[in-house]
C-alpha cells in the first residue's frame, strides 16, 4: 500500500441528542480508503456504520451531529469545509448509493430528471443536455431502453431497475469515491448479484474507490479488498479480506462469520450471537461486547480494550491480544 489515502477518517465521533440523553452513534472511528480500493464496513444494524457514512458525506440531520474527528478527502478536511464547497463535492467527487431504491427516489419526479439534476448542478449543463447525459448514465448501468425509462416515474420500475437508476445517479458524475450503503439489502438474491457485479464493473471502468457498508459477509468476501468490522459505534477489527476470513481476531468477527456460514458448517456454540447489541446511550463498562462474548476474560467487564495493532494492516479491539501492558499503551 503506497501513496496518500483518498479518504481518511480519524477519531470520528457522531452523537444523537435524544430525550433520554446523548447517544454515541459513532464513537471514535478511524478508517481510510485508498484510491480505487474497495473497502467494506461491516456490522449488525444499528452499530453506527450508516451514521459513519452519513458523517463522512455530511448528510446528518439534527439531532445527529458530528462532534469530533477529522475526515480528509483528496487532501481537504471535509468537516471544516464551507457547506457550499461540500455541496460541490457531493454527488460529484463523492457519491452515495442507498439501501432502498423505492424510498430513496423522489416519487413525483421522472427518473431521468432526478439523474439530470446532479449533472446540471455539477457539470453546469442545461437541463436538456443533462437529460441526454442522464439517458447515457442509465445506459451505462445496463438499463434497457434507457430513453423510455428516463421518462418513467420510480413507481413504474421494478426494484432492480430502481437500484440501477440510483446507481446511475451516483456514478453520473464519475465520482472518485462511491459510498454504497447496503445497496442490495432490499433486493432479491438474483438481482443482488447483478447489482454487485454492475458496481464492480463500474468501479473498474471509472477507477472509483468503494466504501461498501453491509452486514453481508458474502459480498465482502467477493467484492472487497479490506474490511472494517464495527460494533456499538467502534471499529473492533480491521484486516485484509483474506486475512479476516481466514483468521478473525475478534470474538465478534468470529461470531459474525459463523452466523454467515451455511447451517451445516456452523460451530454449535457460535451459531448465533446471543443477546442484543448494547444501548449506545449508556454502553456497558469495559469491552462493549463483553456481555455477549463467549471468550471474555478478567478485565473485559472493567476496562475498555484499546485497538491492538497486530500488523500494519491488522488491528483488533480485544483483551485477548493484550500480550503486555505496553501493547495497550501503544494504541
Amino acid at each position: 500500500m503506497a501513496g496518500a489515502p483518498l479518504l481518511s477518517v480519524e477519531g470520528l465521533e457522531t452523537h444523537i441528542a435524544t430525550h433520554a440523553g446523548t447517544l454515541r452513534a459513532v464513537d471514535g472511528v478511524d478508517l481510510h480508503v485508498m484510491p480505487g480500493e474497495a473497502v467494506a464496513l461491516v456490522g449488525e444494524s444499528g452499530c453506527g456504520k450508516s451514521m459513519t457514512a452519513l458523517s463522512v458525506m455530511r448528510l446528518l440531520r439534527p439531532p445527529a451531529r458530528t462532534v469530533a474527528g477529522r475526515v480528509a478527502f483528496e487532501g481537504q478536511d471535509l468537516l471544516a469545509l464551507e457547506e457550499a464547497a461540500m455541496r460541490r463535492l457531493r454527488g460529484d467527487r463523492i457519491a452515495m448509493v442507498f439501501q432502498d431504491p423505492m424510498t430513496f427516489l423522489n416519487p413525483l419526479m421522472r427518473v431521468g430528471d432526478q439523474i439530470a439534476e446532479a449533472l446540471a448542478q455539477h457539470r453546469g449543463q442545461s437541463m436538456a443536455q443533462a437529460r441526454q447525459a442522464a439517458v447515457e448514465a442509465l445506459r451505462s448501468v445496463r438499463i434497457p431502453e434507457p430513453a423510455t425509462v428516463a421518462r418513467n416515474y420510480p413507481h413504474q420500475l421494478s426494484g432492480g431497475m430502481r437500484q440501477r437508476a440510483l446507481i446511475a445517479m451516483a456514478v453520473a458524475c464519475r465520482p472518485a469515491l462511491l459510498v454504497a450503503d447496503e445497496p442490495t439489502t432490499a433486493l432479491d438474491v438474483t438481482v443482488q448479484a447483478q447489482i454487485m457485479r454492475l458496481l464492480a464493473g463500474l468501479r473498474r471502468d471509472l477507477g472509483s474507490a468503494l466504501l461498501l457498508i453491509t452486514h453481508d459477509l458474502g459480498l465482502v468476501a467477493e467484492y472487497c479488498d479490506r474490511v472494517y468490522v464495527m460494533y456499538a459505534g467502534q471499529i473492533v477489527e480491521h484486516a485484509e479480506v483474506g486475512a479476516l476470513f481466514r483468521a478473525p481476531q475478534h470474538p465478534y468477527t468470529r461470531a459474525l462469520l459463523a452466523a454467515a456460514l451455511p447451517p451445516h458448517r456452523r460451530v454449535a456454540e457460535l451459531a448465533a450471537i446471543e443477546g442484543q447489541p448494547p444501548s449506545l446511550l449508556s454502553p456497558p463498562p469495559g469491552c462493549r461486547f463483553h456481555p455477549r462474548c463467549p471468550a471474555r476474560v478478567a478485565p473485559c467487564d472493567r476496562d475498555a480494550p484499546p485497538l491492538f495493532v497486530l500488523s500494519p494492516e491488522r488491528t483488533a479491539r480485544c483483551w485477548l491480544h493484550a500480550r503486555s501492558p505496553a501493547d495497550a499503551a501503544a494504541s
Binding site: 455541496r87 460541490r88 427516489l105 416519487p107 446532479a118 440510483l166
Partner: protein, 325 residues
Amino acid sequence: MGPSLLLYTLRRLVQAVPLVFVIILINFALIHAAPGDPIDFLLGSSDATEEYIAQLRAEFGLDRPLPEQLLAYLGKMLSFDLGYSLRFREQVLTLILSRLPATLLLMGTALVVASLLGILLGAVAARRPYSATDNVATLAALAGYSMPVFWLGQIMLLVFALHLAMFPTQGMMSLRAPREGLGMVLDVAHHLVLPVATYSVYHLALVFRLTRVKMQETLALDFITTARAKGLPEGRVVYRHALRNAMLPVVTVIGLNFGFMLAGSVLTETVFAWPGTGRLLFDAIQARDYPLLMGLFTVLSVMVILANVLTDVIYALIDPRVVYR
C-alpha cells in the same frame, strides 16, 4: 395522458352523482322529519292562497305514499326546480345564481391567498422547526384558528376601516361614484381586502399547520437525503423535492375543507355586507324561508362535491402514481 385525465375527471363526476342524490334525500328527509306539516315548510308563514297550497300539494304529491313523493321531489330537483323563495318571491335557483359570483370571487381569492401563503409560511417554518420564527408563526396560526370569524371581522373593521380608514366597510363596490373598467376592478379589489383577510385567517392557519408538519415529515424522508447527496442546493431540495411531496396531503385537505370554508363565508359575508350566497343564507334563516334554505344547501353541497372532484383531478396532476381508474 390528456384524454385519460379527461376520462378520469368524467368518471369522478359520475361517481359523485350518488352523493348529490344523498343531498336531495337529506332535504326530503328534513321536510318530513321536521315537526309540522311539510306544506308549512314549503310555504313558511306566508299568506298563500288556497289554490297555491293545493298546487304545491299536487306538485309534491303530498297526499300520495312516501316513495312517490320522493320520486316527485327528485324529479323537481333534477329539473333544477329548487322551488320558490317565500321571502324574495323569486325562483330559488335564479336567486342563488345571482348571488353565486360574489361568493366565488370572495372564496376563490381567499382560497388562493390562504393556500399560497399558508404553504409558503409552512415550508419556511418547517426548515427550522422550533426556531423563534417557527414558534411565533405556529402560535399565530393557532390564534387564527381559535377566533370566532365574525368577531375577528368586526375587529378588522374597527381597526382598518374606522381607525386607520384604509379600507371600506361594506359591500363590493363604491356606490357613490361607480367606476368602469379597470377602475371598477381596483375598487372591487379594495373592497375585497378586509373580507378576504378575515375569511382567510382560519384557512391560512390550517394550511400553514398542515404544510409545516408535512414538510417536516417529508424532509425526513429518504429521497431528500438522496437529493442532498447529489449536492443540490438546499433551496432546491426544500422547494423542488420536499414541498411538492408535502403538498399532496395539503391539496387533499384544502379540497376537503372547501365545505368548511363555505361556513366561513356566511359569517364573513354578513359582517362585510358582501352580496353573496352567505348573506342570502342569513336572510333565509331570518325569514325561515325553507325552500330557499334547502335550495342553498343543495346548490352549495353540489359545489363542494364539484370542488372535491376538482381536488382529485389536481391531485392526479401532481401525483403520477394515481391510477386513472
